[in-house]
Symmetry: C2
Subunit: 623 residues, 2 copies
């Protein structure tokens, strides 16, 4: 990818191609589209497996379907052009909606000032007609199942996507412990509608982001992850950020937040949205602050409002809004070890103190709701007072804000605007559950969206891991989306490798949470990978993993020879010490001597006693 | 380090030096020795901090004492010679023990055949006198507090090592949730003795490893981590393994297991032990198998017995013994997805099936205890039937073996032999707690020593992380020691970087568990690091972290200029968007306007209501 100066020029198309590895299919995978009840097509990735070799001959192993966030990029029949943007999947649905109108021009004043570096083929903005409400929640509450709801219902339905699997072993799954969630065995469009109507789930899907593939965030669905990207005053360019977005979605980001600061925020966002298959979130106060030259006290409602409209008309699907930072809470942070660590929170706090007023975000909350519902932008109610250190976890400031977020949730729901709630931060393990319980109670089960939490402060450089420990737990307890943390957290800006590392780490944490809460069919991939491992189908093991290239390269560092990928021993132990090989030998030995271990096992289930030994002794008789 | 051919030659001393970075002190750190009640000296690492700059001038920040596993290597006044081995810290204590005698020669037959590559300055072996028992448990049960118990009591006493800290903020700590543990506020030698007498903790400390610095493994002490190293038939040399041991202890390994297979197992172990400041564990069946050319069915009690004595006289402090793999349990693995994944377990299973007998390890268990107590080798009762996949977690085979390990624990305790219990493996989060609860019950609170567990199977290449998620949880629930997993798990052999990555990952997981269970003074380091972060003392933040070099290099990738390490903004956000900077501005603003935020805060604690706003409004009055 070129630097952003080139990105802006549509004449320089040759340099505007993504690197080939970002457009290739995944190893041994094809993208297939399943048809919903409503005749729309939902992508899944199907990972092919090689056969198992037995004495009786080859036994076929099924393809494994996995959730696919990567959009068209990984479709081999598709060639992407960054200047064109992605195909507009939702355009027809939106067109059919007679509550939506196309505006002649952009409504935000600021948009008109941004001609340089603009996305060349910019569409006219869409908006709900006067006095109409186009949020998914509004439709849900009127009993209408939207296309988006149909789409996500199938998308969540891993069981249906894997309906071809016959092998009962692959379909086995441990019961989950779900702490009072309500996860159905089959996810139907009607269930999706109900969850959205109740506010327990959201489909962030701005009508100005037709390129997006709908996804759902809620406790009774699979756990999602978000990746943050964005230019900063210190470093990086538009082109780099677009590439990071593609990398993030390729590796599994369900949403991407563009946290750009510095120059060209508007343009960076535009290029990202037009090329993004996932919903884009932002923190509008960042851009508003740039508009007043970084002086928080100069912020005004008018500037902020214009920014919201500007971003809504670009297609941002959720806004982090720090409306819970109330004047009366700010002093609660004075005795903290690390004060206010949310950028947005600190900006609002500074404004409040300087003006000695409630923030314009809090006082204009209903007007914000009016804007949100005209484009279907969801709230991500920001935790401006989240703890920035273990010591500050679960303190009065944090929980006071959470209660206010609950009040605001009700107010947003009065407008049928979708809401999720942001959560900490830094929390030691024994205090994580309290966050989840309190959020469910205070915010009436609105989806929780947490950053980590980090379970210790002592490991900068490894904070993707300290936070994945907390993320897996809080995901299990009921958090709907986990905001990733990269290895660079607290230290520097993530590069492409850090984004990939952060995504893979959060993907595994989210998956661990899905297993723990008992999300239907989540365990199929684990079972298939472990079966491949046990059968020494190395290539299948790599292909089924979250990061096939890394798995393979790690293997090749020890056993680089091609033949070793067919080797019937593990590269860790070598041939003589391979337990899996010996287990197979034990089974072969029993077979050779006409001992049916499996049969013995099934009998043994009822006879776990010393008595069994006597009977077993006969069966095992080998002399 | 040279290849092992050279390592063996003591004349080639020049090439036998560790790389300088493995012998340097840690950044801004000095090793200090604190004196126990018994006049022995226990090392701690003290990390110096720079001053905080305030308007009133400089305020000194205290040194932070941390537990130090690195031995003399990190003592700047010490120069190590690999051919000499480490100084024999415990030699005088052992000499004073008139229950111990020096043998004229090694007792194991095999030892006499191993002349090549031998450690040059080999000491004569020590052993308990006939009919004597020299285990820590035996002394504890007789009411004797050994030097080792004094040593570990102080070593666990982070509170005492940090007694110089005045700042109450640094000393704050959240209460733990300890699931019925019994963690005292101050750890005394008498408490250590009681815990060992009860079998709830062990000090693995073979009398033939006088170089070792004693450490304790038990639920009521800090959570420990183990690193596995070892040559294999596929790769690596003696010298590499010695270097890996030094790296592992430098980064925080509390014990090291030498899992060598292939050639020169005896010699590799000897070089490792003579240079190791931490207890060394082994799996003796690996070497026994090599002695019978890898044919499990040819193993005999005599070969195994000779191996135990050989290793005990070298100074191995704990043996993994898979005595719980009983004949009647083997069939239970037949229907598993991944059979038996423990190397030792599969070897024993193969022997049992071939001979249709209980294993010689099970039938000779009391004789094994007799050997263990003559040298004070602790049992690590191996989980030969641990699950190797999520699907196989907590199954009948695993739990049947665990019950047998409980019976064997009692039998070992009848001999006053120290015991810990090995645990899984692959377990989804919702099933981890059951493992801990069952272990505590079935094995009478003998320390649990777990591998991970990995909470999903789908992330080869990231299994240090999938397992750290499980490890942090099970450590919190009560596991005493966590066996590390490197990124190469399931794929290849870890190199030096993998060892370091695995150690740092497990160190942070163990620390998270210490915080969660409320281990006294554990939070000081978190508090100090977060304070440094908030005050933009970058270098202090790096120095206080688990991996200062990595933290610094990550920072420098974004902001390489030296001046930026003094910068009052975070490299993530840049100067305008730094929340910590803004928080400081808020505090400064309040100060400038004579508003005492802290005072307001303390009053606010009692008045969290709308009423407060009125009063707060006065206090904040700024016009």
């Amino acid at each position: 990818m070129p630097q952003h100066k080139k990105t802006a020029s549509s004449s320089d198309k040759a340099s505007l191609t993504l690197s080939a590895d970002l457009q290739a299919a995944y190893p041994a995978s094809i993208k297939k589209y399943l048809k919903t009840d409503d005749n729309i097509y939902v992508p899944f990735r199907y990972i092919a497996q090689s056969d198992t070799l037995t004495e009786q001959g080859r036994v076929q192993n099924p393809e494994i379907a996995v959730y696919d966030t990567s959009g068209k990029y990984s479709d081999e029949s598709y060639k992407h052009d960054l200047v064109e943007g992605l195909p507009k999947l939702r355009q027809a649905w939106i067109k059919d909606n007679n509550e939506i109108e196309t505006l002649e021009d952009f409504s935000a004043e600021f948009t008109h000032t941004q001609k340089d570096l603009a996305f060349p083929k910019r569409a006219k903005p869409l908006k709900a007609k006067q006095a109409h409400n186009v949020t998914q929640m509004h439709y849900a509450r009127r009993g209408i199942i939207t296309k988006e709801m149909h789409y996500v219902a199938l998308r969540e339905n891993l069981k249906r996507a894997n309906a071809h699997i016959q092998d009962p072993i692959l379909l086995k799954q441990h019961p989950g412990v779900d702490f009072g969630a309500n996860i159905p065995n089959e996810i139907t469009p009607e269930f999706v509608r109900q969850e959205i109507a109740l506010g327990r789930a959201i489909i962030p899907s701005n009508i100005n982001h037709p390129e997006m593939e709908p996804m759902i965030i809620g406790r009774n669905f699979s756990v999602k992850i978000n990746a943050n990207i964005g230019t900063s005053a210190v470093s990086s360019s538009i082109a780099e950020e677009v590439e990071k977005m593609v990398i993030a979605t390729r590796w599994g980001a369900d949403t991407v937040m563009d946290l750009s600061t510095g120059k060209n925020i508007h343009q960076t966002r535009e290029w990202i949205i037009r090329n993004s298959p996932v919903p884009i979130g932002t923190v509008p106060i960042y851009q508003a602050l740039e508009k007043v030259d970084g002086q928080a006290e100069k912020l005004t409602w008018e500037t902020f409002r214009d920014t919201l409209i500007e971003q809504a008309e670009q297609g941002v699907s959720y806004f982090t809004i720090h409306a819970g930072v109330r004047l009366k809470y700010i002093h609660l942070t004075a005795k903290r070890l690390t004060g206010i660590v949310s950028r947005g929170g600190s900006i609002i706090a500074k404004w409040c103190i300087a003006h000695h007023k409630e923030s314009f975000i809090y006082t204009h909350f209903d007007e914000i709701c009016e804007i949100m519902k005209a484009y279907d932008v969801a709230f991500s109610l920001g935790d401006g007072l989240r703890p920035g250190s273990i010591l500050d976890a679960n303190d009065e400031a944090q929980f006071a804000e959470l209660e206010t977020l609950g009040e605001l949730t009700k107010r947003a729901w009065d407008h049928d605007v979708q809401v999720m709630i942001e959560g900490p931060g830094h929390v030691p393990m024994q205090m994580i559950k309290e966050n989840m319980t309190k959020e469910l109670k205070d915010c009436f089960e609105a989806p929780f969206y947490t950053l980590g939490p980090l379970v210790t402060d002592i490991a900068p450089g490894y904070d993707h891991i300290t936070s994945a420990i907390g993320a897996a737990q809080i995901g299990w307890y009921g958090t709907s989306m986990l905001c990733y943390v990269t290895p660079k957290e607290h230290l520097g800006l993530p590069d492409k490798e850090d984004v990939r590392e952060g995504i893979a780490t959060y993907k595994l944490a989210a998956h661990a949470a899905d297993l723990a809460k008992g999300f239907p069919a989540a365990q199929i991939r684990d079972n298939a990978l472990s079966k491949a491992r046990f059968e020494f189908r190395w290539q299948d093991q790599f292909n089924l993993s979250l990061d096939p290239q890394k798995a393979q390269s790690f293997h090749d560092q020890t056993l680089p020879k091609e033949g070793h990928k067919l080797a019937h021993f593990c590269s860790m132990c070598g041939p003589k010490f391979c337990s899996m090989k010996i287990t197979q030998e034990v089974r072969d030995y029993a077979k050779e001597h006409k001992l049916d271990l499996a049969d013995v096992a099934s009998k043994g289930m009822q006879q776990k006693s010393e008595d069994f030994l006597a009977q077993g002794a006969e069966i095992y008789h080998v002399e």
